[in-house]
Protein backbone atom coordinates (compact mmCIF):
# COMPACT_ATOMS: atom_id res chain seq x y z
CA UNK A 1 0.00 0.00 0.00
CA UNK A 2 1.26 3.46 -0.89
CA UNK A 3 -0.51 6.35 0.83
CA UNK A 4 -0.79 9.96 -0.30
CA UNK A 5 1.39 10.81 2.70
CA UNK A 6 4.13 8.49 1.38
CA UNK A 7 4.01 10.28 -1.97
CA UNK A 8 4.31 13.75 -0.41
CA UNK A 9 7.09 12.53 1.88
CA UNK A 10 9.02 11.10 -1.09
CA UNK A 11 8.48 14.28 -3.10
CA UNK A 12 9.89 16.25 -0.17
CA UNK A 13 12.95 13.94 0.00
CA UNK A 14 13.44 14.36 -3.74
CA UNK A 15 12.84 18.13 -3.58
CA UNK A 16 10.17 18.06 -6.26
CA UNK A 17 7.02 20.13 -5.72
CA UNK A 18 3.91 18.20 -6.76
CA UNK A 19 0.27 19.17 -7.18
CA UNK A 20 -2.63 17.32 -5.58
CA UNK A 21 -3.60 15.87 -8.91
CA UNK A 22 -0.06 14.61 -9.56
CA UNK A 23 0.14 13.13 -6.07
CA UNK A 24 -2.87 10.94 -6.72
CA UNK A 25 -1.61 9.87 -10.14
CA UNK A 26 1.84 9.02 -8.73
CA UNK A 27 0.26 7.17 -5.80
CA UNK A 28 -1.56 4.77 -8.13
CA UNK A 29 1.48 4.26 -10.33
CA UNK A 30 3.88 3.80 -7.39
CA UNK A 31 1.58 1.25 -5.81
CA UNK A 32 1.70 -0.92 -8.94
CA UNK A 33 5.45 -0.51 -9.36
CA UNK A 34 6.32 -1.16 -5.71
CA UNK A 35 3.98 -4.13 -5.67
CA UNK A 36 6.03 -5.50 -8.57
CA UNK A 37 9.29 -4.75 -6.73
CA UNK A 38 8.06 -6.85 -3.82
CA UNK A 39 8.79 -9.93 -5.95
CA UNK A 40 12.27 -9.63 -4.39
CA UNK A 41 10.78 -10.84 -1.08
CA UNK A 42 10.80 -14.33 -2.64
CA UNK A 43 14.60 -14.31 -2.87
CA UNK A 44 15.85 -16.11 0.21
CA UNK A 45 19.45 -16.84 -0.66
CA UNK A 46 21.70 -14.41 1.19
CA UNK A 47 24.77 -13.34 -0.77
CA UNK A 48 27.10 -10.34 -0.73
CA UNK A 49 25.66 -7.29 -2.55
CA UNK A 50 27.41 -6.13 -5.75
CA UNK A 51 27.89 -2.36 -5.91
CA UNK A 52 30.32 -2.49 -8.85
CA UNK A 53 30.83 -5.24 -11.39
CA UNK A 54 34.55 -4.72 -11.94
CA UNK A 55 37.23 -5.26 -9.31
CA UNK A 56 38.33 -1.63 -9.33
CA UNK A 57 40.43 0.39 -6.96
CA UNK A 58 40.56 4.13 -6.61
CA UNK A 59 42.53 6.06 -9.22
CA UNK A 60 44.84 8.69 -7.73
CA UNK A 61 46.71 11.44 -9.49
CA UNK A 62 49.81 13.23 -8.38
CA UNK A 63 49.06 16.22 -6.20
CA UNK A 64 50.16 18.83 -8.69
CA UNK A 65 48.38 21.78 -10.23
CA UNK A 66 46.63 20.91 -13.49
CA UNK A 67 44.41 22.60 -16.02
CA UNK A 68 40.92 23.50 -14.91
CA UNK A 69 37.99 25.60 -16.06
CA UNK A 70 38.36 29.36 -15.91
CA UNK A 71 35.99 31.28 -13.67
CA UNK A 72 34.26 32.63 -16.76
CA UNK A 73 33.75 29.12 -18.19
CA UNK A 74 32.49 27.76 -14.88
CA UNK A 75 29.92 30.55 -14.65
CA UNK A 76 28.91 30.48 -18.33
CA UNK A 77 25.80 28.32 -17.78
CA UNK A 78 24.51 30.03 -14.64
CA UNK A 79 21.48 32.32 -14.81
CA UNK A 80 22.10 34.04 -11.48
CA UNK A 81 25.64 35.29 -10.91
CA UNK A 82 27.27 38.28 -9.33
CA UNK A 83 30.86 39.55 -9.29
CA UNK A 84 32.32 36.26 -10.42
CA UNK A 85 30.22 34.08 -8.10
CA UNK A 86 27.15 31.90 -8.43
CA UNK A 87 24.15 33.48 -6.81
CA UNK A 88 22.01 30.90 -4.97
CA UNK A 89 18.78 30.99 -3.01
CA UNK A 90 18.69 31.95 0.67
CA UNK A 91 19.87 29.00 2.78
CA UNK A 92 18.82 30.25 6.22
CA UNK A 93 15.04 30.48 6.41
Amino acid sequence: MVSIRDVYHTAELAKIEITEEQAEKFRKEFEKIIDYFNILDEVEEDVEPTFHVLPITNVFRDDVEGECLSQEEALSNATHKEEGYFRGPRVVE
Binding site: D6, V7, T10, A11, L13, A14, K15, I16, E17, I18, F26, E29, F30, K32, I33, I34, Y36, F37, I39, L40, D41, E42, V43, E45, D46, V47, E48, P49, T50, F51, H52, V53, L54, I56, N58, V59, R61, L69, E73, A74, S76, N77, A78, T79, H80, F86, R87, G88, P89, R90, V91, E93
Partner: protein, 456 residues
Protein backbone atom coordinates in the same frame (compact mmCIF):
# COMPACT_ATOMS: atom_id res chain seq x y z
CA UNK B 1 24.33 3.72 -45.09
CA UNK B 2 27.67 2.01 -44.63
CA UNK B 3 31.01 3.77 -44.48
CA UNK B 4 31.96 2.12 -47.80
CA UNK B 5 28.85 3.61 -49.50
CA UNK B 6 29.54 7.01 -47.94
CA UNK B 7 33.12 6.97 -49.22
CA UNK B 8 31.88 6.18 -52.72
CA UNK B 9 29.57 9.19 -52.54
CA UNK B 10 32.35 11.44 -51.30
CA UNK B 11 34.64 10.13 -54.01
CA UNK B 12 32.19 11.01 -56.75
CA UNK B 13 30.95 14.45 -55.65
CA UNK B 14 32.96 15.59 -52.64
CA UNK B 15 32.33 15.66 -48.92
CA UNK B 16 30.77 19.14 -48.93
CA UNK B 17 27.98 18.11 -51.30
CA UNK B 18 27.49 14.78 -49.57
CA UNK B 19 27.09 16.52 -46.20
CA UNK B 20 24.79 19.17 -47.77
CA UNK B 21 22.61 16.41 -49.16
CA UNK B 22 22.45 14.74 -45.74
CA UNK B 23 21.59 18.04 -44.02
CA UNK B 24 18.79 18.57 -46.51
CA UNK B 25 17.44 15.08 -45.80
CA UNK B 26 17.52 15.80 -42.05
CA UNK B 27 15.70 19.10 -42.57
CA UNK B 28 12.88 17.41 -44.53
CA UNK B 29 12.74 14.38 -42.24
CA UNK B 30 9.61 13.48 -40.27
CA UNK B 31 11.54 11.30 -37.80
CA UNK B 32 12.57 13.98 -35.25
CA UNK B 33 15.90 12.17 -34.81
CA UNK B 34 17.81 15.32 -33.89
CA UNK B 35 17.54 17.93 -31.16
CA UNK B 36 20.38 20.05 -32.56
CA UNK B 37 21.78 19.90 -36.10
CA UNK B 38 25.37 21.19 -36.38
CA UNK B 39 24.88 22.57 -39.86
CA UNK B 40 27.60 25.24 -40.14
CA UNK B 41 30.28 23.32 -38.29
CA UNK B 42 29.58 20.12 -40.30
CA UNK B 43 29.86 21.99 -43.61
CA UNK B 44 33.09 23.65 -42.47
CA UNK B 45 34.54 20.26 -41.57
CA UNK B 46 33.43 18.86 -44.95
CA UNK B 47 35.29 21.69 -46.71
CA UNK B 48 38.37 20.86 -44.68
CA UNK B 49 38.03 17.22 -45.75
CA UNK B 50 37.78 18.22 -49.39
CA UNK B 51 40.96 20.30 -49.00
CA UNK B 52 42.73 17.23 -47.60
CA UNK B 53 43.01 18.69 -44.11
CA UNK B 54 41.07 16.00 -42.21
CA UNK B 55 42.83 12.81 -41.32
CA UNK B 56 42.05 9.76 -39.24
CA UNK B 57 40.05 6.55 -39.14
CA UNK B 58 36.76 8.45 -39.35
CA UNK B 59 37.84 11.33 -41.57
CA UNK B 60 34.87 12.99 -43.24
CA UNK B 61 32.30 10.56 -41.81
CA UNK B 62 29.14 12.11 -40.32
CA UNK B 63 28.41 10.91 -36.79
CA UNK B 64 25.28 11.56 -34.71
CA UNK B 65 25.90 11.94 -30.98
CA UNK B 66 23.27 11.18 -28.34
CA UNK B 67 22.34 14.38 -26.55
CA UNK B 68 23.52 13.19 -23.12
CA UNK B 69 27.15 13.20 -24.29
CA UNK B 70 28.91 16.52 -23.60
CA UNK B 71 30.03 18.45 -26.66
CA UNK B 72 32.02 21.63 -26.10
CA UNK B 73 30.18 24.64 -27.48
CA UNK B 74 27.22 22.56 -28.70
CA UNK B 75 23.90 22.55 -26.82
CA UNK B 76 23.57 19.31 -24.78
CA UNK B 77 20.07 18.92 -23.38
CA UNK B 78 19.56 15.28 -22.33
CA UNK B 79 16.17 15.91 -24.00
CA UNK B 80 15.13 17.70 -20.81
CA UNK B 81 13.73 21.16 -20.18
CA UNK B 82 16.15 21.13 -17.24
CA UNK B 83 19.15 21.34 -19.60
CA UNK B 84 17.42 23.06 -22.54
CA UNK B 85 19.86 26.01 -22.21
CA UNK B 86 23.02 24.05 -21.32
CA UNK B 87 26.17 24.33 -23.42
CA UNK B 88 29.11 22.30 -22.06
CA UNK B 89 32.52 23.95 -21.74
CA UNK B 90 34.33 20.63 -22.28
CA UNK B 91 34.16 17.57 -24.53
CA UNK B 92 33.38 14.05 -23.37
CA UNK B 93 36.27 11.59 -23.78
CA UNK B 94 34.51 9.90 -26.72
CA UNK B 95 34.10 13.27 -28.45
CA UNK B 96 37.82 14.01 -28.10
CA UNK B 97 38.44 10.64 -29.75
CA UNK B 98 35.98 11.28 -32.61
CA UNK B 99 37.58 14.66 -33.29
CA UNK B 100 41.09 13.20 -33.19
CA UNK B 101 40.04 10.75 -35.92
CA UNK B 102 38.54 13.43 -38.17
CA UNK B 103 34.83 12.58 -37.67
CA UNK B 104 32.17 15.16 -38.53
CA UNK B 105 29.60 15.64 -35.76
CA UNK B 106 26.42 16.20 -37.73
CA UNK B 107 24.08 16.68 -34.80
CA UNK B 108 22.88 15.82 -31.31
CA UNK B 109 20.43 12.95 -31.35
CA UNK B 110 17.02 12.92 -29.66
CA UNK B 111 16.51 10.54 -26.73
CA UNK B 112 14.30 9.81 -23.74
CA UNK B 113 14.68 12.51 -21.09
CA UNK B 114 17.95 11.72 -19.24
CA UNK B 115 17.81 8.27 -20.87
CA UNK B 116 14.74 7.30 -18.88
CA UNK B 117 12.46 5.44 -21.25
CA UNK B 118 12.14 2.65 -23.78
CA UNK B 119 10.48 4.54 -26.63
CA UNK B 120 12.00 8.09 -26.83
CA UNK B 121 8.51 9.38 -25.99
CA UNK B 122 9.67 10.99 -22.72
CA UNK B 123 11.81 13.52 -24.68
CA UNK B 124 10.98 17.17 -23.98
CA UNK B 125 11.43 17.62 -27.75
CA UNK B 126 8.83 15.02 -28.78
CA UNK B 127 9.03 11.35 -29.78
CA UNK B 128 11.34 9.95 -32.45
CA UNK B 129 9.37 8.17 -35.20
CA UNK B 130 10.24 4.73 -36.50
CA UNK B 131 11.68 4.92 -40.05
CA UNK B 132 9.70 1.79 -41.03
CA UNK B 133 6.35 3.10 -39.73
CA UNK B 134 5.88 6.72 -38.66
CA UNK B 135 3.03 5.73 -36.32
CA UNK B 136 5.43 3.63 -34.28
CA UNK B 137 8.27 4.42 -31.90
CA UNK B 138 11.96 4.15 -32.77
CA UNK B 139 12.70 2.57 -29.38
CA UNK B 140 14.69 4.14 -26.62
CA UNK B 141 16.37 5.70 -25.07
CA UNK B 142 18.88 6.24 -27.93
CA UNK B 143 15.99 6.50 -30.43
CA UNK B 144 17.46 9.40 -32.43
CA UNK B 145 20.84 7.70 -32.77
CA UNK B 146 19.20 4.55 -34.21
CA UNK B 147 16.64 6.25 -36.47
CA UNK B 148 19.35 8.52 -37.93
CA UNK B 149 21.38 5.49 -39.06
CA UNK B 150 18.35 3.71 -40.51
CA UNK B 151 17.23 6.77 -42.49
CA UNK B 152 20.67 7.84 -43.81
CA UNK B 153 20.65 10.91 -41.57
CA UNK B 154 24.07 9.82 -40.23
CA UNK B 155 26.57 7.09 -41.09
CA UNK B 156 27.57 6.27 -37.53
CA UNK B 157 26.17 7.22 -34.15
CA UNK B 158 26.90 7.10 -30.47
CA UNK B 159 24.27 5.98 -28.01
CA UNK B 160 24.36 5.10 -24.33
CA UNK B 161 22.92 1.99 -22.72
CA UNK B 162 21.82 1.84 -19.08
CA UNK B 163 19.30 -1.01 -19.42
CA UNK B 164 18.96 -1.57 -23.16
CA UNK B 165 19.02 1.98 -24.51
CA UNK B 166 21.31 1.11 -27.45
CA UNK B 167 20.01 -2.39 -28.17
CA UNK B 168 16.27 -1.59 -28.04
CA UNK B 169 16.31 1.20 -30.66
CA UNK B 170 18.83 -0.77 -32.76
CA UNK B 171 16.34 -3.64 -32.80
CA UNK B 172 13.32 -1.41 -33.55
CA UNK B 173 15.10 0.48 -36.35
CA UNK B 174 16.88 -2.51 -37.93
CA UNK B 175 20.46 -1.39 -37.28
CA UNK B 176 23.45 -2.73 -35.32
CA UNK B 177 24.11 -1.58 -31.76
CA UNK B 178 26.60 -2.65 -29.11
CA UNK B 179 26.57 -2.19 -25.33
CA UNK B 180 30.26 -2.64 -24.46
CA UNK B 181 31.59 -4.35 -21.32
CA UNK B 182 31.28 -2.00 -18.34
CA UNK B 183 34.50 0.00 -18.18
CA UNK B 184 35.65 -0.45 -21.79
CA UNK B 185 34.55 3.04 -22.90
CA UNK B 186 35.18 6.07 -20.70
CA UNK B 187 32.06 7.70 -19.27
CA UNK B 188 33.85 11.03 -18.80
CA UNK B 189 31.43 13.63 -20.14
CA UNK B 190 28.42 11.29 -20.27
CA UNK B 191 25.75 13.04 -18.23
CA UNK B 192 24.95 10.36 -15.65
CA UNK B 193 21.69 8.58 -15.00
CA UNK B 194 22.85 5.34 -13.31
CA UNK B 195 26.66 5.18 -13.17
CA UNK B 196 27.14 1.55 -12.22
CA UNK B 197 25.03 0.33 -15.16
CA UNK B 198 25.67 2.58 -18.15
CA UNK B 199 28.11 2.58 -21.04
CA UNK B 200 28.48 4.63 -24.20
CA UNK B 201 28.41 2.44 -27.30
CA UNK B 202 28.45 2.47 -31.11
CA UNK B 203 25.54 2.15 -33.56
CA UNK B 204 25.96 1.53 -37.29
CA UNK B 205 24.66 -0.12 -40.44
CA UNK B 206 27.21 -2.94 -40.50
CA UNK B 207 29.40 -4.92 -38.11
CA UNK B 208 32.60 -3.60 -39.68
CA UNK B 209 31.47 -0.01 -39.11
CA UNK B 210 30.39 -0.81 -35.56
CA UNK B 211 33.78 -2.39 -34.83
CA UNK B 212 35.65 0.59 -36.27
CA UNK B 213 33.72 3.06 -34.11
CA UNK B 214 34.32 0.87 -31.04
CA UNK B 215 38.07 0.84 -31.80
CA UNK B 216 37.99 4.64 -31.78
CA UNK B 217 36.04 5.17 -28.55
CA UNK B 218 37.37 2.31 -26.38
CA UNK B 219 40.44 2.77 -24.26
CA UNK B 220 42.11 4.19 -21.23
CA UNK B 221 40.96 7.41 -19.59
CA UNK B 222 42.01 8.40 -16.10
CA UNK B 223 39.09 10.80 -15.72
CA UNK B 224 36.64 7.88 -15.37
CA UNK B 225 37.49 5.98 -12.18
CA UNK B 226 35.64 2.90 -13.47
CA UNK B 227 37.55 2.78 -16.74
CA UNK B 228 39.14 -0.63 -17.34
CA UNK B 229 42.13 0.83 -19.19
CA UNK B 230 41.82 -1.61 -22.10
CA UNK B 231 41.89 -0.96 -25.84
CA UNK B 232 39.83 -2.75 -28.45
CA UNK B 233 40.99 -4.09 -31.79
CA UNK B 234 38.78 -6.02 -34.18
CA UNK B 235 40.48 -9.24 -35.26
CA UNK B 236 38.58 -11.40 -37.77
CA UNK B 237 38.10 -15.00 -36.65
CA UNK B 238 36.04 -17.87 -37.94
CA UNK B 239 35.37 -20.55 -35.38
CA UNK B 240 32.56 -22.79 -34.32
CA UNK B 241 31.00 -21.39 -31.14
CA UNK B 242 29.04 -22.89 -28.28
CA UNK B 243 25.80 -20.93 -28.36
CA UNK B 244 23.32 -20.86 -25.49
CA UNK B 245 19.66 -19.92 -25.88
CA UNK B 246 18.50 -18.40 -22.58
CA UNK B 247 15.37 -20.26 -21.45
CA UNK B 248 14.10 -17.40 -19.28
CA UNK B 249 14.15 -14.80 -22.07
CA UNK B 250 11.54 -14.70 -24.80
CA UNK B 251 8.98 -12.64 -26.62
CA UNK B 252 5.54 -12.66 -28.17
CA UNK B 253 4.50 -15.04 -30.93
CA UNK B 254 5.71 -12.93 -33.86
CA UNK B 255 9.09 -12.26 -32.32
CA UNK B 256 9.57 -15.91 -31.30
CA UNK B 257 8.69 -17.11 -34.82
CA UNK B 258 11.54 -15.04 -36.25
CA UNK B 259 13.84 -15.94 -33.35
CA UNK B 260 13.31 -19.69 -33.86
CA UNK B 261 14.09 -19.39 -37.56
CA UNK B 262 17.31 -17.55 -36.75
CA UNK B 263 18.32 -20.20 -34.24
CA UNK B 264 17.82 -22.87 -36.95
CA UNK B 265 20.21 -20.94 -39.22
CA UNK B 266 22.77 -20.67 -36.40
CA UNK B 267 22.61 -24.46 -35.83
CA UNK B 268 23.98 -25.02 -39.33
CA UNK B 269 27.37 -23.79 -38.22
CA UNK B 270 27.43 -23.62 -34.42
CA UNK B 271 26.61 -25.86 -31.47
CA UNK B 272 23.35 -24.64 -29.91
CA UNK B 273 21.86 -25.62 -26.57
CA UNK B 274 19.43 -24.20 -24.05
CA UNK B 275 20.72 -22.65 -20.83
CA UNK B 276 18.75 -21.73 -17.74
CA UNK B 277 19.38 -18.65 -15.57
CA UNK B 278 16.84 -18.81 -12.71
CA UNK B 279 17.84 -15.44 -11.18
CA UNK B 280 16.52 -13.60 -14.24
CA UNK B 281 13.03 -13.80 -12.74
CA UNK B 282 14.16 -11.06 -10.34
CA UNK B 283 16.44 -9.10 -12.66
CA UNK B 284 13.93 -6.54 -13.91
CA UNK B 285 12.82 -5.48 -10.42
CA UNK B 286 16.44 -5.38 -9.20
CA UNK B 287 17.49 -3.33 -12.22
CA UNK B 288 14.80 -0.69 -11.75
CA UNK B 289 15.46 -0.36 -8.03
CA UNK B 290 19.20 0.16 -8.63
CA UNK B 291 18.72 2.48 -11.61
CA UNK B 292 16.15 4.63 -9.80
CA UNK B 293 18.25 4.79 -6.64
CA UNK B 294 21.32 5.93 -8.57
CA UNK B 295 19.15 8.39 -10.52
CA UNK B 296 17.77 9.96 -7.36
CA UNK B 297 21.31 10.65 -6.21
CA UNK B 298 22.71 11.72 -9.61
CA UNK B 299 19.91 14.08 -10.47
CA UNK B 300 20.19 15.87 -7.14
CA UNK B 301 22.70 18.13 -8.93
CA UNK B 302 19.92 19.92 -10.83
CA UNK B 303 19.19 22.80 -8.51
CA UNK B 304 18.81 25.69 -10.94
CA UNK B 305 21.92 27.43 -9.62
CA UNK B 306 25.12 26.42 -11.45
CA UNK B 307 23.63 25.45 -14.83
CA UNK B 308 20.41 24.48 -16.51
CA UNK B 309 16.86 25.72 -16.16
CA UNK B 310 16.43 28.46 -13.56
CA UNK B 311 13.56 30.51 -12.21
CA UNK B 312 13.65 34.26 -12.42
CA UNK B 313 13.27 34.87 -8.70
CA UNK B 314 15.52 33.28 -6.11
CA UNK B 315 13.35 32.16 -3.21
CA UNK B 316 14.30 30.25 -0.06
CA UNK B 317 16.37 27.18 -1.07
CA UNK B 318 13.72 24.59 -0.24
CA UNK B 319 11.04 26.31 -2.30
CA UNK B 320 13.44 27.28 -5.09
CA UNK B 321 14.90 23.76 -5.61
CA UNK B 322 11.48 22.11 -5.41
CA UNK B 323 9.98 24.53 -7.93
CA UNK B 324 12.89 24.40 -10.38
CA UNK B 325 12.74 20.61 -10.33
CA UNK B 326 8.93 20.56 -10.62
CA UNK B 327 9.13 22.68 -13.78
CA UNK B 328 12.37 21.34 -15.24
CA UNK B 329 11.76 17.58 -15.07
CA UNK B 330 9.18 15.55 -16.98
CA UNK B 331 6.91 12.98 -15.31
CA UNK B 332 9.04 9.87 -15.95
CA UNK B 333 12.13 11.54 -14.50
CA UNK B 334 10.12 12.62 -11.44
CA UNK B 335 8.80 9.09 -11.00
CA UNK B 336 12.29 7.60 -11.07
CA UNK B 337 13.82 10.18 -8.74
CA UNK B 338 10.95 9.79 -6.27
CA UNK B 339 10.92 5.98 -6.37
CA UNK B 340 14.71 6.00 -5.96
CA UNK B 341 14.39 8.28 -2.95
CA UNK B 342 11.79 5.88 -1.59
CA UNK B 343 14.00 2.79 -2.11
CA UNK B 344 16.90 4.50 -0.34
CA UNK B 345 14.88 6.01 2.49
CA UNK B 346 15.01 4.90 6.12
CA UNK B 347 13.23 1.59 6.62
CA UNK B 348 13.30 0.55 2.95
CA UNK B 349 17.03 0.47 2.16
CA UNK B 350 17.45 -3.18 3.16
CA UNK B 351 14.17 -4.33 1.64
CA UNK B 352 14.73 -2.76 -1.77
CA UNK B 353 18.16 -1.30 -2.56
CA UNK B 354 20.36 -3.79 -0.71
CA UNK B 355 18.17 -6.70 -1.82
CA UNK B 356 18.48 -5.57 -5.43
CA UNK B 357 22.27 -5.51 -5.11
CA UNK B 358 22.17 -9.07 -3.80
CA UNK B 359 20.06 -10.16 -6.76
CA UNK B 360 22.70 -8.55 -8.93
CA UNK B 361 25.26 -10.93 -7.40
CA UNK B 362 22.97 -13.87 -8.26
CA UNK B 363 22.56 -12.64 -11.85
CA UNK B 364 26.35 -12.34 -12.23
CA UNK B 365 26.71 -15.87 -10.87
CA UNK B 366 24.22 -17.20 -13.43
CA UNK B 367 26.04 -15.46 -16.28
CA UNK B 368 29.41 -16.84 -15.12
CA UNK B 369 27.95 -20.33 -14.99
CA UNK B 370 26.42 -19.99 -18.45
CA UNK B 371 29.73 -18.80 -19.88
CA UNK B 372 31.47 -21.88 -18.52
CA UNK B 373 29.59 -23.90 -21.13
CA UNK B 374 28.85 -21.29 -23.81
CA UNK B 375 30.77 -18.65 -25.78
CA UNK B 376 27.73 -16.49 -26.51
CA UNK B 377 24.13 -16.36 -25.30
CA UNK B 378 21.06 -15.52 -27.36
CA UNK B 379 17.61 -13.99 -26.91
CA UNK B 380 15.32 -11.71 -28.85
CA UNK B 381 16.50 -8.14 -28.13
CA UNK B 382 12.94 -6.95 -27.51
CA UNK B 383 9.97 -9.14 -26.57
CA UNK B 384 7.74 -7.44 -29.17
CA UNK B 385 7.78 -5.49 -32.42
CA UNK B 386 8.04 -1.65 -32.24
CA UNK B 387 5.15 -0.20 -30.24
CA UNK B 388 2.59 2.26 -31.53
CA UNK B 389 3.18 5.79 -30.30
CA UNK B 390 1.28 6.15 -27.00
CA UNK B 391 0.87 2.39 -26.56
CA UNK B 392 3.06 2.20 -23.43
CA UNK B 393 1.36 4.90 -21.38
CA UNK B 394 1.50 2.82 -18.19
CA UNK B 395 4.98 3.07 -16.63
CA UNK B 396 5.20 -0.52 -15.34
CA UNK B 397 4.16 -1.89 -18.76
CA UNK B 398 6.98 0.15 -20.30
CA UNK B 399 9.52 -1.13 -17.76
CA UNK B 400 8.56 -4.71 -18.54
CA UNK B 401 9.55 -4.23 -22.20
CA UNK B 402 13.19 -4.10 -20.98
CA UNK B 403 13.08 -7.62 -19.54
CA UNK B 404 15.62 -9.15 -21.98
CA UNK B 405 18.08 -6.27 -21.98
CA UNK B 406 18.52 -5.22 -18.31
CA UNK B 407 20.25 -8.40 -16.98
CA UNK B 408 23.22 -7.53 -19.21
CA UNK B 409 23.69 -4.16 -17.47
CA UNK B 410 23.32 -5.68 -14.01
CA UNK B 411 26.22 -8.03 -14.81
CA UNK B 412 28.25 -5.52 -16.86
CA UNK B 413 28.78 -7.97 -19.75
CA UNK B 414 28.71 -6.84 -23.40
CA UNK B 415 25.76 -7.40 -25.75
CA UNK B 416 25.05 -6.81 -29.40
CA UNK B 417 21.76 -6.33 -31.24
CA UNK B 418 21.80 -7.71 -34.79
CA UNK B 419 18.96 -7.08 -37.26
CA UNK B 420 17.63 -10.49 -38.36
CA UNK B 421 14.80 -9.68 -40.73
CA UNK B 422 11.23 -8.47 -40.50
CA UNK B 423 7.80 -9.46 -39.21
CA UNK B 424 4.81 -7.52 -40.60
CA UNK B 425 7.31 -5.19 -42.25
CA UNK B 426 8.90 -4.25 -38.91
CA UNK B 427 12.50 -5.05 -37.93
CA UNK B 428 13.38 -7.77 -35.41
CA UNK B 429 16.66 -7.77 -33.49
CA UNK B 430 18.64 -10.67 -32.06
CA UNK B 431 20.50 -10.05 -28.82
CA UNK B 432 23.92 -11.72 -28.59
CA UNK B 433 25.46 -11.57 -25.11
CA UNK B 434 29.13 -12.26 -24.45
CA UNK B 435 31.45 -12.77 -21.51
CA UNK B 436 33.40 -9.80 -20.06
CA UNK B 437 35.59 -8.14 -22.72
CA UNK B 438 34.62 -10.66 -25.42
CA UNK B 439 33.53 -7.94 -27.88
CA UNK B 440 35.70 -9.50 -30.57
CA UNK B 441 33.82 -12.81 -30.33
CA UNK B 442 30.47 -10.99 -30.39
CA UNK B 443 31.35 -8.92 -33.43
CA UNK B 444 32.72 -11.90 -35.35
CA UNK B 445 29.60 -13.91 -34.59
CA UNK B 446 27.49 -10.91 -35.61
CA UNK B 447 29.41 -10.64 -38.85
CA UNK B 448 28.93 -14.30 -39.67
CA UNK B 449 25.21 -13.99 -38.93
CA UNK B 450 24.87 -10.82 -41.01
CA UNK B 451 26.53 -12.67 -43.89
CA UNK B 452 23.98 -15.47 -43.61
CA UNK B 453 21.09 -13.04 -43.70
CA UNK B 454 22.44 -11.10 -46.62
CA UNK B 455 22.80 -14.39 -48.55
CA UNK B 456 19.21 -15.46 -47.82
Amino acid sequence: MRIADWKEKVESYGCYDAISEMLERIEKSKLNAYITVCRDEALKMAERYDRGELEGKLAGIPVAVKDNISTKGILTTCASKMLSNYTPVFDAHVIERLKAEGAIIIGKANMDEFGMGTTTETSYYGAVRNPYDLERVAGGSSGGSAAAIAADEAVLSLGSDTGGSIRCPASFCGVYGLKPTYGLVSRYGLIPYANSLEQIGPMADSIDDLALLLEVIAGKDRRDSTNAGRDFKFVPEDRKLRVGVIAEMGGNEEVMRRFSEVVEVIKERHEVKEVSMPSLKYALAAYYIIAMSEASSNLARYDGVRYGFALERLDSWRRYFSKVRAEGFGDEVKRRIMLGSYALSAGYYGKYYLKALKVRTLVIRDFRKAFEECDVLLSPTMPSLPFKIGELADPLTMYKADVNTVPVNLAGVPALSVPVGFERGLPVGLQVIGNYFSENTLLNFGKWLAGRFEEN
